[in-house]
């Protein structure tokens, strides 16, 4: 299922004007200008598009709230700070079809009435940066329409937390990328206090293909609650790691094993677990991997969500307890330190996971406090993978003393 990723037989170079036309972005942009802001937002809402960065917030609702604001100054921002553990889908998308997300950004700006847009790219993606610089110099949207739009590229400098939307705004403003307390949400007070739409790369690419077609086309794939496709970044022990575009609702097992996707379990060939959704994701056992379908509604019974689309696959030689400790190390390293539950909590989690036995009651208690009291998604979701591990004793080490400790 290819919508966002161009078909393999696409011959036009990624940054050519032919590609801009081949992929329907010229038409999409013209159509947006013809339909007008109000109708574009209605399309996005009717398509049922939700954010692809992890939070899955309804995109049309976000745009409507910014468009309605009386503030004459508005901004749109493309979040290309992809830094979630195991996630590389936006890099693949921007490399293979850079126009899509940029066309979506221009359409978003037009729809909400913004004349300044920002692309915030993680500093580790120098290869993508060169493409984007070239793309912004060409700016095909500036020729086709009369809508004035300045797009600036901002290079991050290595901070996972800068991908959190309000931290990202602070980073653009030249401040430390620490998250802001919400509310107010960026749609009310974003960049320099003005209403701001922030969208993930993949969300904006979806907007472009939606406007290149229509709502019925968009909804023809996926599920009723989650229309469209999703990019999944599959890594670890599979035959073919990479980024795959799937219809929402595809069985996880198909993604892992079908020849057109990851092509089967690699390593020892025997699956132990999958970490789905990134560092803030959920471990699924091999049995769960055979049962789960990839959309947020279907994943609820597993306590999981698609998150950023990361699928990290571990064969049966991997000690999951060790992965849990690494994830805790990731959060302890990347916590910005602004709020106490996260600053202290991520350290305590790492310390406890480095001990020989786990005190499950205390870990759950700490995880709950972090989830309830942290300012932003980092601290709130830092215990998520650990808690999912504690809920699945079949993933515990065979020689585990954890059960004794629990008893």
């Amino acid at each position: 299922m290819r919508r966002l990723l161009p078909a393999d037989d696409t011959v036009s170079p990624p940054l050519s004007r032919e590609r801009w036309r081949d992929r329907g972005y010229h038409e999409a942009w013209e159509r947006a200008l013809t339909l007008g802001p109000q109708t574009v937002i209605e399309w996005v809402t009717a398509a049922g598009l939700t954010g692809r960065g992890g939070a899955a917030f309804p995109t049309g609702q976000k745009w409507a709230s910014v468009a309605q604001s009386a503030d004459p100054v508005k901004y749109v921002v493309m979040n290309a700070d992809e830094s979630e553990l195991g996630t590389f889908k936006d890099r693949a998308l921007l490399t293979r079809d850079p126009w899509g997300a940029l066309a979506g950004l221009a359409i978003a700006a037009f729809a909400v009435g913004a004349h300044e847009a920002y692309v915030y790219l993680r500093g580790e993606y120098a290869d993508v940066e060169r493409l984007l610089e070239e793309a912004l110099a060409l700016a095909p949207w500036a020729e086709a329409g009369s809508y004035p739009l300045a797009v600036r590229l901002i290079r991050g400098a290595g901070a996972y937390i800068a991908g959190e939307e309000t931290a990202l705004l602070n980073s653009i403003e030249g401040r430390r990328p620490e998250p802001r307390v919400k509310p107010p949400f960026p749609t009310a007070r974003g960049l320099w206090g003005h209403p701001t739409v922030i969208q993930n790369v993949e969300t904006l690419a979806n907007v472009a293909v939606l406007l290149a077609h229509d709502v019925a086309w968009f909804r023809a794939v996926g599920t009723e609650a989650a229309p469209g496709t999703k990019l999944m970044a599959v890594s670890g022990h599979v035959a073919r790691p990479g980024v795959y575009e799937i219809p929402m609702g595809l069985p996880l097992w198909t993604l892992l094993t079908a020849p057109e996707y990851a092509g089967g379990i690699g390593g020892s060939g025997r699956l132990r677990a999958v970490l789905l959704g990134g560092a803030a994701g959920t471990f699924l056992t091999a049995d769960e991997c055979r049962a789960a379908r990839l959309d947020n509604l279907a994943l609820q019974p597993f306590g999981a969500s698609l998150g950023s689309g990361a699928v990290m696959v571990f064969d049966d030689t991997v000690e999951i307890r060790q992965v849990v400790r690494q994830v805790a190390g990731f959060f302890a390293e990347e916590s910005c330190g602004q709020c106490v539950p996260c600053r202290i909590g991520t350290r305590r989690l790492l310390e406890q996971l480095s001990a020989s036995t786990l005190d499950i009651e205390r870990l759950r208690d700490l995880g709950g406090a972090m989830r309830d009291a942290s300012i932003c998604g980092l601290g709130q979701t830092a215990p998520q993978a650990l808690l999912s591990y504690l809920d699945r004793p079949s993933l515990w080490p065979r020689t585990s003393k954890e059960e004794e400790c629990h008893a």
């Binding site: 580790e124 290595g158 970044a233 390293e333």
Partner: protein, 143 residues
């Protein structure tokens, strides 16, 4: 490598708007020129953009890709996160550390899990990374 001085920093940043939003781009320019952000350089950036030096330091020291102490044109980072560590990242890191005088950094996920292990040499990504690959990039870098 000769470090920038306040006068050269002024000219390096001359075309940037004198405002706080120019801070991150300004830090990148100085860092790419010097391979380090010294206290003196940070003070000069603050002066140029009219941002207090303490806040410039606060921003610069937040980011993993900036160095406010060690000076190196192309710092080497090896991703030792979940997926890369399944594919020899720690071994690569140890091997590099064993033969380099300058520090080799362990990095959190570099977003190249499809070709592990990943590394950054300066701003150039290597995936999969190897001793030979890192050497080849370093060879092309001016000391």
């Amino acid at each position: 490598m000769k470090e920038s001085n306040p006068a050269s920093i002024q000219s390096l940043l001359a075309d940037l708007p004198k405002e706080r939003a120019s801070l991150l781009p300004a830090l990148w320019r100085v860092f790419e020129a010097d391979g380090v952000l010294t206290r003196e350089a940070l003070a000069a950036v603050g002066e140029a953009l009219d941002v207090p030096a303490a806040e410039v330091y606060g921003v610069a020291s937040f980011y993993a890709l900036f160095h406010v102490e060690a000076q190196e044109r192309a710092p080497v980072r090896v991703c030792t996160d979940v997926v890369c560590s399944l594919f020899g990242a720690q071994e690569l890191l140890n091997a590099l550390r064993g033969r380099r005088e300058k520090p080799v950094y362990a990095a959190t996920c570099l977003g190249r899990c499809d070709a592990p292990p990943a590394a950054l040499v300066g701003r150039q990504a290597l995936a999969p990374a190897s001793l030979e690959g890192v050497d080849a990039v370093l060879k092309g870098v001016q000391p």
